[in-house]
């Protein structure tokens, strides 16, 4: 049963890690615009052949 101590510490650490990620996401303006990135990610594959750079 004492393994629970370890598990609780792990679970809280994991959760705290995600809260940290969430904080980072807010800080870096990732909630500012929730539409453009979803479109932008599709542009990497050029739909027509690229001219020479």
């Amino acid at each position: 049963m004492s393994v629970l101590f370890l598990l609780i510490i792990i679970s809280l650490t994991v959760a705290a890690f995600f809260v940290g990620c969430y904080y980072w996401a807010i800080k870096t303006d990732q909630f500012e615009d929730d539409y453009t990135p979803s479109v932008r990610i599709l542009f990497d594959d050029e739909l027509t052949k690229k001219p020479k750079e």
């Binding site: 679970s11 479109v39 690229k50 001219p51």
Partner: protein
Amino acid sequence: MTTISCFHCGEEVKEKFTGDNHLFCCAACVNVYYLLSKSGLSSYYSLASSPGFTPLVKNDAFAFLDLPDAVDKLLDFKSTEAEKVRLLLPQIHCSSCIYLLENLHKLKEGILTVHVNFSLKEAAITYDPRRVSIKEIALLLTKIGYEPSFKKKSGTPENNTSYKKQLWKIGVAGFCFGNIMLLSFPEYLALEEVSDDFKSLFRYLNILLILPILFYSGSEFFKNSISALKVKKISIDVPLVLGIIALFGRSMYEVISGTGSGYFDTLAGLVFLLLTGRYFQNKVFNQFSFERELYSYFPLSVLKKTTIGEERVLIENLKEEDFIKIKNEEIIPCDAEVVSESITADLSFITGEAMARRFNKGDKIYAGSKIIGKSGEFKVLKKTDKSYLACLWDEVKSSGKKDVLESLTGKFSGYFTALVLLIALSAFSYYWMNNNIHGAFNALTAVLLITCPCASALSAPMALGNAIRLLSRRGFYLKNAFVIEKVAGIKNIVLDKTGTITVAEKVEVTYCGSTLSDEEESLVFSTVNSSNHPLSRILSDKLKHTPSLEPEAYEEIKGKGIEAKFQNNVVCIGSALFTKSNVTVENPKHGSVVHVAINGKHKGYYFLESRYRKGLWDMLEKLSADSEIYLLSGDHKDENPQLLQYFGKNMLFNQNPEGKKQYIQMLAENGKTMMVGDGINDGVALKVSDVGIAVSDNVNSFYPSAHIILDGKNFIQLAEMISYSRSVLKVIYACLGLSFLYNIVGMYFACTLQVTPLFAAVLMPISSITVVSLAVGGTYFAYRRKFIN
């Protein structure tokens, strides 16, 4: 016949332009196409069909960007190697736009990166100032169809941080809520294997986790209720705080005394849900600014005449007695005196007059008037900040009522708190008198925690937040959630005429009489084309597709009309008397009549009428069914019989802003009043009314401050919008009723000391969930019924 649409912009192709086997509507579109395909950006066309806009290039629209002062104000960041600017591009509308704009560096040397924010319709452009100037970028953007708008932005960074803080509070609450639930699992399942040591460890961990919720995430409830109590009012936060304290105190007692596990999960869930509800209610429409700055209506710079020539100056630097030159379609930035012989100006925004007016040399003209046709020269009389318009604007700012957030739930919570306290105290004293001290405290806290108005506090934010979101789909953009409550109580509806019930800047021209041949039509066009009279401008605009001839002699007789001599024809255009007309015109009063005579023979007349919005009459019918409707206009008297039928005596014309304001205040004494208007002349009236709606045919253009911004296309749904608001209120009442029912049941068990932790753990989430789903579902079904049959 099928119409072919332009490959670039989707407009109908009338004259064929070809390029690369595609059809275009004009040379400009072909140019953009070649420009893009040369730079390897043809994907633009494969992402969406006909994504472009017909580019319009105004020659010196960006001339002010040559002034370093003006540019410095726009820049976010400046160094010798790179400058960053955020431009508002109202044309951004699809994924192709993002693609093209983010690849702008392929079109022009020196542009480093472009980052588009779709929801704000904004592009952040970083460029190398040594290789490209901001003016060149603006011209390039305009050339490919995205004309940047340099109107001042009102989004302040301060606003932004409070939004982030809100998100962070919800995040913290969610984190604590989830972990508390996890740690409460052994209690839920009543696991016997878990030893008491662990159970108490879990309980103390819960205490640790509840602290951030109480002192950080939930701090605003405490602050709000303290400030409400300070002004001797009970807001919805007061009973909430009471419930939170009861929950926390009782739980702490149970844990420390070892008698139970407390209700930390309920408390955490409550705060989390409440914050989420408020977040949705306060979600604002970033792209609209409900508080407008007057300066955003004016151009940024103006051409000043100096001894050596012309010079471009910022309007702030303009001085009295300066001479300025204003071109076609430009706005005069200050009160001025006309120096040119005669000019025509559109005053609809300032006074509400539908037809353009003529000004002669020496006349005074107000700031905000738009020049039509020939350019003119003016002498500055008063600077922009002291102009008539600015004074009017300042009055708007100062005269507005403070928005009192005396909302429905606010009133409800006042009675509710009193009732709950009364019941809690009577239960307490009942057990106390029967010498059951433990039972007395038990009943007191149980009543407070079970009646905690979580359900009722959630219902209004959820219902209103959802309603705001749904209304925005129909072109109604609300300043905040409380506007809905106000709309529902509207008794009087006051409508402005020009630009509100009529379509701004559009005049319907109809011709009556013997049909004109093509040659005759071109004679008429050539005659009016040389004239600067407002009616001539409208007529020449209507006939602009006909070929033009050069008149041999031309005379404009003031107050009568124009006479023009051509090779073998004489054309007279003007009043009935002038053209020797003996035709009687039907309903001459609700429009302007221009008669035409060729070679001394009366041919017929043009009837010029401002066009009412489609479906207006049906809407007025619906509106007048349950409210009083009024027409308040700054324009001349209009005796359209249909207007008379709906408004009857409730029509006032020739009103100045002050008159409009007083009329609204008079109406407001006998019931809540809604004002619907579009121009500066309605600004004060919009502000003093209970609900001010600014109608705008182009939401990116200028409109006065208001509670609701309404897209002109959706104007005729005003009646549906009002009746929808009433339905939303009914939904909220139903939610309050339901939560009241739960509370009565809960209260019975609390007073009879039957509240077990399990009972509370079941009743509380169930009541919250049912009430929230009723709120969201109810508003959605009402929306379906009102707007989508």
